[in-house]
Structure formats: structure tokens, C-alpha cells
Symmetry: C3
Subunit: 579 residues, 3 copies
């Protein structure tokens, strides 16, 4: 591994290897083959985790540079095409030979190189890391064909296309370390939902917070009583088939010596050990009562890997918190009790009632036509802000935003600006939604080309211009959201969208601290996973007779202890009738 300043990593940390080194590949092969040969048929073996938290890191060494050139050559054929497609003419970066394609050489430079080339570098390294993992899986399969392989994602830090990683393994796993009392519950849910969404089967959580936290990367209070169990219940409700606490006992040495453990360094079982022991017994009961289930999802959030890269590449200019904005929409859906799955913009969208694409920067012709097909057939699509600003190469689209979809949205972006201290603004919603809301970060104002305004700006020279619009297109509706709103107005807007899509949502008096996830068994039974995220008791009314699958209690009104969960199966008479 070599950094952008040409300094090769030493061997005193970890992850000092290069994903393109033939020597390293050969030696890895040897190790993996030896392990797979030795343990592949071992009866205690349940599966394989390859590597650890691969993050798509860029290595600037000569091996990687050569591999990147080969990858580009394969993709573009000739430098003239690469020059044209990536706009290398700017600042005279045109190459006349493949050898002239070089990585940026210095830290400061890296951030100012051609964004289109930077996107290609990200794409290349995503491929390169997926290949590196795949190589390991192939060897393992030779010797252990019946066990699964997985890879544990490092939360949101990753710069790899998750779908490529999922394809390389039986399923994906994720690691997360929520900060007790600090991180909102939605962070755990979105992490689970993303991991679950990339594959055709449930995922695992391979590392989750335990114990007394105190590490190089982590500053937070200790998890409260019940908190560790809540993480597991949340994860299970959001598709996890396995949850592994990290780790059994704190490390006796090395850089992570203060990292968490169910046991402390002195190996004495304490509070958290006992909690997890009890949790094991609960989940054993639950597994018997609920052997299989899924969370049928009405709402889809679009997550295209290239746009996550674009947000990072243009961090200053675009000023978009990619996962942050996805999380805001996820939270709004969760506040209404709606299940969410993540999709790519070119996936089949027909299973979903609402598709939200808040960060759709690249609007390829395929994406645009997929969206039009979806809405024409009756779907509700939500676009936002800088939708369609790029072509597939990460160059600016020459079309008026939202690029190639002004007919779909019945509106086009006229002008946009950052919201700063000197130009605060707000929007007033149309009568069917009502009220007003402050604007954050960006204001895009629209020309109405047939769409109906849902909200208009209150101030500045674009006062009275449309901020949010809705357009009927075929049997469906396309909504464009031109500004960023606070949490409460987003829930209100999401409620409007749910009504448009004919979805039922949580009753108004549902307590905010209780998360309700609606699950379905293969037989069509409905189960509600209820999670109390508050450190105080709560009570909810499901309005349908149900059975607590763990405690065996029955009823329709349920009390929840602080930081606890219940899994309630709705009695047969209520079957098919949504609450």
C-alpha cells in the first residue's frame, strides 16, 4: 500500500497490502489454500469470512497504476475515447499514450484532479477489491463447497460497490459500533437495510458494540441495560439472520487493547455478559416460533455506488452528506412504520409503492427510462435537488435538470443556491399539506411545466417560485423536492407521499420511541417487531389481538420495558387486514 505522497506503508499497523501485487496474491493464495484444505470439511465449520472490512482503499503504487491502465484500456479501447469521455482536455490532461495516465502524486493534488478520472479510480478500485475477495472465495469453494462465505462491511466507510461484493459471496455482513445514548436508532436500521438489500437472502451482523467502549476510534458512554439486546432485535427485524457481538474478551495486547468485549480483561462475567446470555435464550424461543420471515417493503431508497463516489469526490462543491440525506428519508419512512429497502436506479422497481432517489446525480438514459416506466405504471417517484447533474462519466449533463426527466417531473430547475447565514429562507406548503418549514443547505427553484406546486419559497428574489412539485405521469406521480427540510416537515411530506401511494401508516398517537417493523411469514401471517428505544417504559396499542412469541402473553395493548423488544404475531382473524 502506497499513499498519494509515494510513502509505502510500514508493517506496524494493518492493511498495509496492495490489492494488485502479484506476489501478495500468490502468498495469499497459499495461506487460504492451506486453511481451506485443512478446515474445509471440519464439522464445526459453519462458514468463512474473507478478509476484514475491506474499504476500497486506493493504493498509489506502480502495480496498481499498471492495473488501472489495463482496466481503462479494456473499458475505453483507445486514449482518444478516454480523453473525450472523461473530458481530459481540461487543464491539458489529454493523454497520447496509456502510460501518461497517472495517479495524483500529492495529497493536495488528489482533491483537485479531474473528477471524472477520480470516479474511474473509485470504480477501478471497487472492481479490484471485489476481485481480490473473489479470488479467495474461489479457493475456499474448492475445499469447502458446502459452507457459505461472507464479508463484513465496515459500516458506511466503504468505497466498493456492495452489489459486486454481494455477488462474490453467499451473502454480505456488516460491522457497526453504535454510540450508546448518542447515535439515533435509525443508524443501525439503515446499516441493516442496506446490507440486506444487496442480496437475495438475509445478512449477518458480524461485529456489534459490546462492553466498555474506549478505543482509538470511539468515544461514547457505555451501553445502558438492555441496549445490547436492542441492537440484536433491531438487526433481526431488519433482516439479520445472525448477530455476533465483538468480542468475547478484550484483547490482551496490541492497538485494539481497549476495544470492547463481553468479558473484560479480567475475564469475569459482568452485567453485559449476563444480558447476552439471557438474550440467547430469548432468541432460541423466537427461532422456534418464527423460523422464517421477511419485511415486505413498500418504500425503496435508491443507492447507486457511483453517486456515493461523486458525493465524496465533490465534497466541497456539492456539499452533500450522501448517507446522511439517505438516512433522513429512511427516518421519515420509519416514523410512519413503513419498511424500506435499497435499490439501484436501474433495478426492477415494480415491487415498491414509493421510490425515493434523493441523491440521483448521474441520470443515465437507462435510469431515466426505468423511472418513467415505473411512474407510468402507477408508482410514486421522488427526485431531489441536483438530480441528473452528471452523465455516466461524472461529467456535467448538458441537459436541463433534472437531466432528461423534465417531462416526467413536469418541471425543470431554473436556478439554485446554497442556503447560508445571509440568505435564510422557508417554504409554505400547499393546502393539502399545509404549514411552512425552514430551508437547509440548498434551494433549487423550479419552472412548472405542468407540475402542481406542493411548496413555494417565501423569501429572496425567488419568493413565490416552486420548491416542491408533483406531476401526474401515466398512472403515477413524480415529486421533485428542491430544498432540504427538517425532520418533522420531512415526516409530513412522507405522510403525503404515503397517502398518494395508498399506504397505511402508524396512528398519530404512536409513541416516537417505539419502532414498529411489520414482518410477514411465508404463510402470510403478520408479525410486528416492536422495539422500545427509550430508557423508560412505553405502551403501544396494535388494535389487533396478538401473541408475544417469546413470553407467550396475548393481547392488543403492549407494555415495553426500557430498552426492550417484543415480537407479536397477529392472531389469524386479523390476517391480511393491515392495522
Amino acid at each position: 500500500m502506497m499513499d498519494e505522497n509515494g510513502i509505502r506503508a510500514g508493517t506496524t499497523w494493518r492493511r498495509y497490502y496492495c490489492p494488485s501485487s502479484p506476489n501478495y496474491h500468490r502468498l495469499c493464495d497459499n495461506v487460504i489454500e492451506a486453511m481451506a484444505r485443512r478446515y474445509g470439511a471440519h464439522p464445526a465449520l459453519i462458514g468463512w469470512q474473507t478478509d476484514n472490512e475491506v474499504s476500497g482503499q486506493i493504493c498509489y503504487c506502480e502495480h496498481c497504476q499498471q492495473a488501472m491502465r489495463a482496466w481503462l484500456k479494456e473499458k475505453y479501447g483507445c486514449v482518444a475515447r478516454l480523453n473525450r469521455d472523461l473530458g481530459m482536455v481540461f487543464w491539458a490532461h489529454e493523454a497520447t499514450d496509456w502510460d501518461q495516465i497517472v495517479f495524483p502524486r500529492r495529497d493536495a493534488e488528489n482533491n483537485r484532479a479531474n473528477p471524472s478520472m477520480r470516479l474511474e479510480i473509485r470504480r477501478f478500485f471497487s472492481d479490484q477489491w471485489a476481485r481480490f475477495l473473489n479470488r479467495q472465495v474461489e479457493i475456499i469453494r474448492l475445499y469447502a463447497p458446502k459452507t457459505w462465505t461472507t464479508h463484513n462491511l465496515p459500516g458506511f466507510q466503504i468505497f466498493c460497490d456492495l452489489y459486486d461484493l454481494a455477488a462474490a459471496h453467499d451473502f454480505l455482513s456488516i460491522d457497526f459500533y453504535p454510540k450508546a445514548t448518542i447515535d439515533p436508532p435509525g443508524r443501525v436500521n439503515i446499516a441493516n437495510d442496506i446490507t440486506r438489500s444487496c442480496q437475495q437472502r438475509p445478512h449477518w451482523v458480524l461485529e456489534v458494540q459490546t462492553g466498555t467502549p474506549c478505543t482509538k476510534f470511539y468515544k461514547a458512554p457505555v451501553p445502558r441495560k438492555g441496549q445490547l439486546a436492542v441492537y440484536a432485535h433491531q438487526s433481526a427485524a431488519h433482516g439479520a439472520e445472525g448477530v455476533v457481538y465483538f468480542r468475547w474478551r478484550k484483547s490482551p495486547a496490541g492497538a485494539e487493547m481497549f476495544g470492547n468485549g463481553l468479558l473484560d480483561h479480567d475475564a469475569r462475567p459482568r452485567r453485559q455478559y449476563e444480558e447476552i446470555k439471557r438474550l440467547g435464550a430469548e432468541f432460541a424461543k423466537l427461532a422456534e416460533a418464527l423460523p422464517e420471515y421477511d419485511a415486505p417493503s413498500e418504500v425503496a431508497l435508491v443507492f447507486d455506488y457511483a453517486d456515493r463516489c461523486n458525493a465524496a469526490i465533490h465534497d466541497f462543491a456539492m456539499d452533500v452528506n450522501y448517507f446522511g440525506y439517505l438516512t433522513e428519508w429512511h427516518n421519515a419512512a420509519a416514523a410512519l412504520g413503513l419498511n424500506v429497502r435499497f435499490v439501484r436506479s436501474t433495478d426492477d422497481l415494480s415491487p415498491y409503492k414509493i421510490v425515493i432517489a434523493p441523491n440521483q446525480f448521474i441520470a443515465s438514459p437507462q435510469t431515466a427510462s426505468n423511472y418513467k416506466r415505473y411512474v407510468r405504471a402507477g408508482g410514486v417517484l421522488v427526485g431531489a435537488l441536483r438530480m441528473g447533474v452528471f452523465d455516466v462519466f461524472g461529467k456535467p449533463s448538458q441537459l436541463t435538470m433534472p437531466g432528461g426527466m423534465t417531462d416526467l417531473f413536469g418541471a425543470e430547475v431554473e436556478e439554485y443556491e446554497r442556503v447560508m447565514e445571509t440568505n435564510p429562507n422557508s417554504v409554505t406548503f400547499a393546502g393539502e399539506i399545509g404549514g411552512s418549514a425552514d430551508c437547509r443547505n440548498w434551494n433549487y427553484y423550479l419552472n412548472d411545466l405542468g407540475a402542481k406546486p406542493l411548496a413555494k419559497y417565501d423569501k429572496e428574489f425567488y419568493a413565490g417560485r416552486t420548491a416542491i412539485s408533483i406531476n401526474e405521469f401515466g398512472a403515477g406521480r413524480a415529486v421533485y423536492v428542491g430544498t432540504m427540510l427538517g425532520a418533522q416537515p420531512m415526516v409530513k411530506l412522507m405522510g403525503f407521499l404515503a397517502a398518494q401511494a395508498g399506504l397505511e401508516t402508524l396512528p398519530k398517537d404512536w409513541p416516537a420511541a417505539v419502532e414498529r417493523t411489520r414482518l410477514a411469514t411465508p404463510k402470510g401471517e403478520t408479525v410486528f417487531a416492536l422495539v422500545n428505544h427509550a430508557d423508560a417504559p412505553q405502551s403501544v396499542n396494535l388494535a389487533l389481538d396478538g401473541l408475544d412469541l417469546v413470553s407467550g402473553e396475548t393481547g392488543s395493548v403492549w407494555s415495553l420495558a426500557p430498552l426492550s423488544a417484543r415480537w407479536i404475531k397477529i392472531k389469524a382473524k386479523g390476517k391480511g387486514k393491515k392495522p
Copy 2:
């Protein structure tokens, strides 16, 4: 280009060239000669811009190191003299051979090297870049002897002696990107005035803010209606002969893809395009009505390149915002309707009524005697704070501050200190000015050696000691300002200075948002450029009959639309009589 850590720049950004490389010079010569030969006589050619925003960047490569040694050898003759003049004895940096003169090798080191050598490094690179540009101009002149050449300065970022750059070209130009709603109007004025002041003819603005801003370097709201035109009117009033909006259409690729444009990526003419189109028509009328003019300046601000370098070299210790403090004085003059030009401390100062040297760190014997000559002949000179702290080598002066000018100011600095949270202070002005004002950043207290106190400190152990003094010297007056004041007290102090110099200033009820620049035609007619910087209408009374050179309206009271300008020629009867 090599950085201080020895890392050579890659080719994935821009400005990766070394100003001393013979190979690079040779190849540049070839390109420029080819272009000049091809287009030098082209009828559409109006002039040449060399390079782009040269910033005096330091290259740490071997070519530059050798060139620097040659430059020092030329200047000092022998290392013994260099050792003595630059004080190389400190920390045993004395050289016994030219080859021992080396650039600092690391980032951290750079900031702690001998400040006198750092000043020489800055001076060398200023020369080196001027030579690099001059080389280009010489080739161009061979093939295009009748067209002008210019170079576009990068706002205030530059580390080159502007007078050297001006000498290399027919005139200088400047680029600026004011932040709409955020940057005060004075920033544009001072940028224009500095550029104009370095040469004997008007300058150009070669790049100015347009469009929807969103770049790597820039975070601001979009310019309001009228704002782009205001930038042009301000610039014209402050000496610009040409104003070029940057750029025609947003870049279709590369690192500046989100940079501004009169047209967006979709090339559709919108609000700002229409504004500039109208502006073109206005300026066409104006050019006809006012073919030639200048802004006669009563006030001069001193700007010595070496002191700008000193402020940067000693950024922590001296804690001086060099251009910031110049701007504060410029603003104070502007608030009273006084025109300002920039001068060097050794220039002929006789054209000015008031000369302000707020950052005169180096007081060479030439500077001191020039100031004395000026005051003796009747001028009003303002010195401040650390005046005369250095000798010409950037070593501390061994004279009591203000170095070599205590007779001129009739005062000397006794002691000084930073103003921090634990030692707030204020001054009370003498009766003729009156009132009091808070102190900022630095307090210098003075021994009165004949000068009359204008303000005294209120607190701490130097309570009652002089903060600001005035001294009669020959037919003039020398004022020393030992502390930093807020904007309003500075206007008050400037009003006192104007009265001393016999200058008329704006009436008390003049609206603060309206800038008035007094211009004179070659025939001696007076024209007032009025610029309304507010996003609200304003009205001003010129008290003299005048003619709007664009609209043809006449009168003495003028209404100004939000963010707009008027150019009013005073009717002949008012000629010569200042308002």
C-alpha cells in the same frame, strides 16, 4: 514544481511547472512563438493574457535552488556578507559556501526558518516569476508588436511584486470572485484600486463572478438581481477599462465543472445572461458619453511588497492581516467619499493630501527620508503599530520604533502588547475628536516627544498613556495610531485627518449603502459614479445639477434602484466646485 517535502507535483492538477527549469522554458518558448507567429497579425486579436494567475509559488527543486543561489550571489557577492546581513549566525546557519544555502526541507521547518532568508526566498521567486512572464512577453512582441499584453492577478493571493509584473506588461488585470451577500463591497474596490495603482493607465478585470456558484474554492449564495452589474460599475469607477465575466458557459468537464458561467451547462440564457446583455447596452452609452476619465485621489495607502511578505512570514508572531488592515483604512476613506490610490513608500507622495502607512514594517532610510520630505512640505502622514520594526533585510531594527522617525512623529513606542480576553482596553479621544473606542489586537503605548495626544488608553498599567498622537513637522502633520479600532471609530479618525488635510467629505446624511466615487474628465468636468450596494432602493442628494449619462435624466436628487448604479455628470456651472 516540488514541494517542501521533496514531493514532485504530478500532472493531474495544474501549475505543476517549475519557474526555473531550462527545459520547460525552452518548450514554453516554442509554444508561445508558434502562437504569436500564427495569430500575431490576426485582425480579431486585441491583446494577450500571459499565463494565468501566477501566484509566486515556491518550487523547492534543484533548478530553483541553483537559481536562488545565483540570485543571492549576484546580490551579496560573498557569503560573509550574506551571513551578516541576514543574521545567519542564529542557530548556526552561517554558510561557508553558496552550496550550503538550502531551502527548508519539511513543511514544519519551513515555518521556522530564518525569517530574513524567507524574505529573500520570496523576493527571489517574485523576480523569477516576473522574468518567466517577461520572457513570454518578449516573444509575443516580436510577432505582435501592436497589441497589448496583460496578466491576470489572482486577487490577494499573490506573492509577487505587482510593480515588477506591471513593468513586464502593458497593464495588469485582476480576477476576483466576490461572495454575494457575504463580502462587503470594499473588497472589490480595493482589488481594483491596487491593480490600477501599479501602472500609468487603466487596468482590466479579467475574471469576475457570475452564475450559480459552487466550486472547490467558493461557498456563497447566488448573486442577487443587479449584483453582477454592480461589480462592473464599481470596477469601472475604480479604474477598470474592461470587465470580463467568467465564464461564457460552465465547463463541460474537469475540476472546475461546477464553476460559474453566464450560461449554465444546458446553454440556456437565463436571468444573469439577460442582465449582462442589458449591461452591455448601458456601457455602450456610457462609453460614448464619457470616453475618458480618472479618479483624482487625495488619499494614498502604502503597499510595499516586502512588508506583505513579512506579514505572512511572521504570521503567528506579528498576527497582522496585511490586506485586512489596508482594507479597514480603505473602507474608512470610502465611507467619507475619498478616492484612494496605492503607493510604495519610496514613491513621489506629493500628489496626495493624506498618506497612510498602516503596515510599514520595514523603514529603510529612503522610506524615512521620503516620509519626512512629504510631511515637511505639508502632507498628512499616518503611521501605525509596528512601523519601522525591521531593517531592509527583515532583521529587527535596532532603533526605537517608529525606527528612524521618532522626530517625525514626535513620539516613540515605549511598550506594546496583544489585546486578549484577559486584558481588554479602550481609548478615550481628545476633545477635538471625542468619545471612546474599544481596542483590538494590539496596544502600543507611546512616549510623547513633542507630539500631542489624540487618544489615551483607559485601563491597565498604561492607562493614561498615549495611544494615538499627532505631531506638527514642517508644514505638515504626522499621526501615529498605536492601537486597532473598530470601523466606526476609524471613520471618525479619518474624518479628523480629512479636516487636517482640508478635504471635503460626504454630508452626514449620506446613505451608507451608496458608494460615491468622484471622477474627472480630461476637460476638468466632474462625474459622480453612484453605486447602490443595498438590495433596497436608496436616494441621494448631490446638491448640484447633474445629468445621468445613461438615462439622460437630469436633477440633483437621485433615486437608485436596488443593486444599481448611476453616472452623473455635474452641469458646467458646478464645474470645479466640489460638492
Copy 3:
């Protein structure tokens, strides 16, 4: 000197030398021998200062790497033992050959390498720098056997074991630059006390703040009238035999040109020069009246070099301000008029009534048994927070905290957490102390194994659990402080400890701004050094007849001018009777 990125220092700053280079050693030897030979017998010579502010800096060059390997080989004998003792197995860092032991290669890596190896690196460089200084001392002694040598410590920045440095010289000295009006007086006291404590005789202050401050490292108001004298009086009261102001006249050139001086660049004597002149006369009188004295110390604070390193190595995870927390305890003792000396945890503790070990991270068997011996014999020991978290290699202890001393404290740590915004807490003290106090930074809650609670937590799931406990052990008491308190509660707690130890403390109405240090002459007379740290007059009542050793005044009630000191010898009748 080479940094962690492999960039070799240039010669344009200072301290660019490597402590392991044989060539550099040889040339140093030559210089020192030449100086010692020339001046060793000079009558004006009083002593030698070796080098300047050696800071234990890590050099990453090949010489140092080789030397470090030799040092490790000497210590561990074989790599297998090193692997085991330092826990190199983590992240596969096990070495099979000494050549595989390498320094971290990059800045980011450095911070994440094995903390146990990082501790060894710190220990090695401490040895290496002590050896480097010792080598110089040996040469000096050959030619100047009758004069002393000293080394001036750079305040708290140092990463060397002070006891090793003290052993290499006759005594240690310290440099400090307190920020007038900003830094609390305790900073100067603790710096003096630490330096004094490492040796069997008084120390020197070799550089102390003067003049108008304005340097690369320093931002503060100028010292007020009397402040410079106060620094000297404080230092003398805390064991300094010499105090040297830095420097005579401001430097005429180089990087420290704006550094302080008793004379300014113009060499004119001003306020501060006169103050120091008067001070010289005062100290001449004092030296005559009080030729010898010491400050008998009842309180010891534990300072183990390895733990100071551990705090820095684990800066994020442990989040301990090592000297900051020592200073808080020092301040609490000073507020009660108790004298403090610093000790190592394995020193003879019997001279002290109270021993406080607030940062005892490593609890070696030697430390644990020394503490038990001390308490068993009647001492009062204070442990805190993460006491005993490490073994001697800086690996986590596998014992329950406080490691190996649960019998001594009659308590053990059950769990701990950071205090953040989301989990504020407080403690309520037991009746004998009374009241409550807010918790800061960390909360450790305890199992009582015989100890009596002194304070309990008020909130969260550990409400009612013990925060501070006291345990009778043999003839003494062991107190464990599991949370961090504010300044006032710490004084209260210290008052409780003093009462337990039978120590008299300052009367309740003693003015907080006046520091009182109790000194004893070899004849057993009592002298009080009184220092007024306020910029306002104060009055104190010593309740015993005394004599001002400088002014010759007598009395028991003393007025103190702003920023001034008095040295009061108690009249014979009061001898031996503590106030």
C-alpha cells in the same frame, strides 16, 4: 533527524541532529572537548549547560533503528520473548528476526502501532538522549572537574525520564514561559516542584519569560508590573537556587527575533529592566538572611515516566491529560498550604503523610507492594480511575482493577464509562465530607470489598454505587477516587485527606490569591514565603510574630502589594509550632 515519513530534516531550523549518529557524536565530542579544554579552568566559569531543551524526540533514521534493535536485543535476549511480552501477535506483528523490528513509516500509522512497542520506543529514546547528554558531561568533567553541569528541561514537553537526566548531571534546570494574565500560578509551581524532586539538591530555572512577548510559540499579554519578580519568588519558594531571565536583549536576527528580552532591540532599559534590577537587590538581602532552606513536604504526587508515555500513546482512548490531572491535585494541596514533592511509585514513601497516585496506569508487583508497605505503616494513599490498567510492558493487566491492589483499597472497579453530554452525573459525599459535586470525563463505579464509601453516584444505572471509597489497611488508609471532580470539590476532598493524615491546613479566611509556602532552615526555623498573585493588594494573618527578611518589618498581619512577595521568618517562640 528523520521524520516518520522518511523525510530527513534540513539545516534551516534547529535540532536537526540524530541522537544515534556515530559521525555526529564524534564531531560533538570534538567541539565539547575544545570548549572544555579552553574554558574549563576559566575563573569566570560557574557551570555548564549541556545542549538545550532536549525533548526525547524520535528520529526514524537507520542509525536509530539499528540502535533500537540493539537495545531491545539487550533487554529481551530473543525475539520470541519480545513477541510474547509486547503482544506482537496482534495483527501478525510477530518478528522472527531482529531486523523485522521497524519504526512506523507514516504519520497516520505511528498513532496506531502496537502501544507496547510504542512504549518501548519512548523508553529507548529516553535512554538514548540521556546517554547523548551524559557523553558530553563526561568530557566536560575531564577538563572542568569542579564546576557543575545542568540541563534545561523544556517545561512539560519532554519525553525523557527526568531521573535519568538528573543522574547525568549535578542538577536539573527548567525553562518556562508562563502567559501573563492567562496561566494560573500553579503551572509555575508544579514545574519547579517536578524539577526539584528529581535530585538531592535545589534546581535552577534557566529560562523564564521576560519582556514583550511575541513569538512563534507564544501569544499573551505583556507581564504586568511585579509579575516577573513574582515568577522568581515562586520559583525560589519551590526550590530554585537560581532564576535566569531569558534573555538579556532581544535577538537581532533569526527565527526567535521577536522572542523576549529584558532589553528591547533598541537596548534601552525600560520598566522590566528596572524591575529586575530592584529584584536583584532584594534577593541579595534575602540570600544573606536565608542562606539555606528547604520546603518540608507532607504530600507526594506520583510521577512515573512510563505512565506519562502511556497517557500520550493512548491519548484518544484513555483521554487523560497526564500533567493536567497531576496539576489539579497539586492545586488542591496548594490551596490548603501543603507542600508537594514528586516521587516515583517505587521510591521510599515513608517521608510523606499523603501519597497521591492519580495516574498510576502501570501497577508492577514492585509498585503494588511498595504501596501496601506504605499504607500498612500508616500512610494515606490515593489511587484513582484507571489505576493498574497495564502491566510493565504496557499490555492490559489481566487482574481486576486496581490491578493487584483490591485488598489494599478494599474495593474493585466494576465498570466505567466516559462522561459526555448525554450522560451527565454527580456524586453525593458521605456525611463527614457532605455536599455533592459534578462528575467530569470518567466515571468508575466500585464494588465495596470492605471499603467505606465516601461518595456515591446520583444518576444512571449505577446510581447509588460507590464513586470514592476509603479503606483501612494496617495503620493507614487507602482512598480510591473513581471520578474526576471540579477544583472546589477537590479542595474539599484534599481537606478530608489532610485531616485523615493529621495535617494542619490554611485557615478558612486565607485569601485565595496569596500562596503560602512553609520553609524550614537547617536550624529548624520556620519561614513563610508569601506570594500575592493578584494584581490588587492583599492582607494575610499568620497569627505568629514574624520578621520580613527583606524589608526588616515585623508583625503577624502582613499587607502585600499587587503582584509581590514577602519572606517572613517566624520569631523563635513560634519555632516548631505550626501555624
